[in-house]
Chain length 191, copies 2
Amino acid sequence: MIRDLILKNRSYRRFYQEVSIEFATLRELVDLARLSASAGNVQPLKYILSCNPKKNALIFPHLAWAGYLKDWPGPCEGERPSAYIIIVGDTEIGQSFGCDHGIVAQSILLGATEKGLGGCMIGSIQREGLREVLKIPERYKILLVLALGRPRETVVIETVGPNGDIKYWRDSEGVHHVPKRPLNDIILDES
Amino acid sequence: MIRDLILKNRSYRRFYQEVSIEFATLRELVDLARLSASAGNVQPLKYILSCNPKKNALIFPHLAWAGYLKDWPGPCEGERPSAYIIIVGDTEIGQSFGCDHGIVAQSILLGATEKGLGGCMIGSIQREGLREVLKIPERYKILLVLALGRPRETVVIETVGPNGDIKYWRDSEGVHHVPKRPLNDIILDES
């Protein structure tokens, strides 16, 4: 059931870093992206893959993790992602990428979840630094970084309370709590 | 397998209009959206549902269909969507919606596909006209319209040829052909 997969597909930020991910796996995930919808079927997105520790270490410092957890600088060595898929927009194909990167990111993460992996869509990126270390040509606009690995944390969904606070938080056991708005609050009109 | 669902989830534009869709079904689909990722967990998206013929008829004229099929003005009466989910951004919650609408649109359409339905993400919308007929307050930015129904056409995926043409086309049998770029063309770097 797709609902079970969507429920299991939480944003994970701590991983069993020693569990490696093969290139073949990343290619299978990008193929799910390839087969997903694209506005006007233009398909302007391209993908940079990383699953070796050296390249992963170049990428990691350019990502911001869990903005609401002020005391947590991100996953420590040993709990970092085993792989990344960087989604870029090819400006020689299109100038606007609409929400294509959201569509494909969801396909990729659902595919990863099915494989017992998990990850996080990261939009808070030091783009120029990342471009420099990976020598990404200016032609490509950096849109999203997907961090991937075998999840090493528990994430639970809760309901946003009356104060409307949507900030996720981590309890003393390290469990990550994510408040989601109730269904009736997000459906405006079903007349 | 998520791959099978993604393959089955094509953009459909002709439907068995007489096959109705219940509100409860649309609510289940929006719940999949609700449980999907949102940048900073802000969850600024809201949803307007329609599954009655009168409201559907108000929405339909404000949508542009299949831009590359110049001789086809869109589905005729009898082949139109049975339902719509309009995704809007609540500007009292956020000003920027990133690619959140792409993430949720993919969740919704995968959920619809699993239910034997199908649809199309439509971004080419006469927004002011749609706002007016549905009396959508200015507070809500219209992002995407998802047209839904039981598909009444065959869609096949092909590989983009050497000329790079990505325009979908319809053959004399009415089969809709969609060229997708090959995997090796969209993976930039897997060193």
